[in-house]
Amino acid sequence: MEYFFLDLGVLGSITAIMLIGLNLQYGIAGIINFTYYSFVAIGAYMTAVTTMGHPAAIYAKGPLAERYILQWSLPWPIGLLIGGLSAAVLGLLVVIIAVRRLRSDYLAIVTVAVGYIVLNVINNYTPLFDGANGLWNIPQIVKLPTESYAMYLLVLSLVAVAVFMALSHRIYHSPFGRVLRVIREDVIVAKAFGKNVQLAQIWAFVLGSFMAGIAGGLLVFYIGAWSPAAFQPTESFLLIAALIIGGSGNYWGSLIGAYVILEGIAEFTRFLPSSIPGTVVGPLRAILIGVALILFLRFRPHGVLPESLLRLYPRKRKAPMAPTIQAGTGNVPGQAS
């Protein structure tokens, strides 16, 4: 039971990092990204291959051979950073297509297509990614028994969540964040104020992709394996659904989406009576999330924690100059004469 909550905590925190990054792209900057999970996959892969060293002796050759590039054994923080940066580089490539003036819904389709290309190349181009076999035997970053290791990663991922939440908070209330929100609401207004729309969007997207890469790295440290089959496009849709139900725009909503909507529902289906077969639980869960997504969009489009809640606690700033009207110095509209 204890381990169950530990597992939920680690996976929930890693998902939270993904949602914080996705919220920066979609919730705050309004750039649609239907292939967010591809960035998680790239981050995970690069982190793994830069930290795990050469394959174990039994997997070095023959039909069971595990093939992958680099085979470095760097210290894990550097590997994690490389994972994040690789995802950021892929993000840069995608956003350059994304900022072209294309209707937002068609752009969404394009991001799905890019995700497919990435997944397909990974799956089929064996020299680079070892195809559908993926990676396994990824060593723990510190040698610990299972439960203590989970605890270690829980602390690590919670630190990452805290850092990215703080970053989101700073960005949201900064001039940069305000520009992003203006772009989201009305690109023309942002341009009219002389803001560099494309640069702001590129930054938001690349930062969000970086967070996806970090989340991927932590995931691969925790699970110890990596397979392209785990990175299907539907995973990205689940993330978007969770973000919208939690409250897109509001970074606290990302936490609700991660811990409650995604991990909570997934983990608690374990406690369903065993008479319900596993082949039914998965589809039922997806149907539940699909229906919840539609109902939320219809009746509570801003999610559980709407963005407007953030404005209840604005940062301190100088009080604006109150318009003063001096009595008797002319006609004030609305004043009875």
């Binding site: 294309l102 190349v121 919208i244 997806a286 149907i287 699909g290």
Partner: protein, 293 residues
């Protein structure tokens, strides 16, 4: 080498005709409603399963089963529009919101299919026949029926749009909804009819796809949807001819590239072409609607 090329062109034409069924009807719906239906692929699959029920479950004639599946899916589309999508449109939802709603529908449909039919592959009772040599092409009887049906349906649709009163009203609605409404056209009814037509075509496309792929699986339509979108965007959004040309280009590109590349990269070719076109000519080959949100 030359014969290989012609064979590929033959397959390409069949592939293109399957894509075109989806692309033209989805494009028609987008041009009338002005938002994307992301559930189209999964609904295509649902239509194919409807046909399976009529075919192997009720033991009807195969062609009758496909016709009934088309009508049933058309009704499903209209009901889905009335129950789910129309309330969103009425409340003034943005196109992106509607896209996400249809993703939700796609989730639900896909998993309902898995719940009912499982993930194993099914086949229709129809026999596609052996490969025949027709001039330079090598095709099965099934391929020829698919190609012929697709061409006939697409011609019928064009005639319907051009010469009937409904067709004219539909084109008017797609062109300018407010103006159509003030000319006394019942645009609500026209929108329902559009969804019905889209559903009918989706079922036929789903069955054709299942025959072309040699079996029916739950994710078939979803994977095909992205190829259909590539064709639509390639040709320019909201244009019927654009969707046709786009389908032709994508279909031929997929099958001709299979000569030089492993077949696993089939869909990659379609998407790479899409990304390339968007980089060079964001409005598509045939300039579609103004690019705006």
């Amino acid at each position: 080498m030359v014969s290989e090329f012609f064979e590929a062109v033959g397959f390409g034409l069949v592939t293109a005709s399957v894509i075109a069924l989806g692309a033209v009807s989805l494009s028609l719906q987008i041009s009338v409603t002005n938002y994307i239906n992301f559930a189209y692929g999964d609904l295509m699959t649902l239509g194919a399963y409807y046909a399976l029920v009529f075919d192997t479950g009720l033991h009807l004639n195969f062609y009758l089963a496909v016709l009934l599946a088309g009508i049933a899916l058309g009704i499903t589309f209209v009901l889905m529009h009335i129950a789910v999508l129309q309330p969103f449109v009425r409340s003034g939802a943005r196109v992106l919101t509607l896209l996400v709603v249809t993703i939700g529908i796609s989730f639900v449909v896909q998993n309902v299919i898995i719940l009912i039919w499982g993930t194993s592959a099914y086949r229709y009772t129809v026999d596609v026949g052996n490969a025949l040599h027709l001039g330079p092409f090598v095709l099965t009887a099934g391929d020829i029926v698919i190609f012929g049906t697709s061409v006939l349906l697409l011609i019928a649709l064009q005639l319907f749009l051009k010469y009937t009163k409904f067709g004219k009203a539909l084109r008017a609605t797609s062109n300018n909804k407010d103006l159509a409404m003030s000319s006394g056209i019942n645009t609500d009814l026209i929108t329902h009819i559009t969804w019905g037509i889209s559903g009918f075509f989706a079922a036929i496309a789903g069955v054709a796809l299942a025959i072309e792929e040699n079996n029916l699986r739950p994710f078939e339509g979803f994977n095909e949807l992205l190829i259909i979108f590539s064709a639509i965007i390639l040709g320019g959004i909201g244009r019927q001819t654009g969707a046709l040309v786009g389908s032709l280009v994508i279909g031929l590109a997929i099958s001709i590239s299979a000569i030089y590349l492993p077949s696993a990269y089939n869909s990659v070719i379609a998407f790479a072409l899409l990304v390339l076109v968007l980089l060079l000519r964001p409005q598509g080959i045939f300039a579609g609607r103004e690019v705006a949100d």
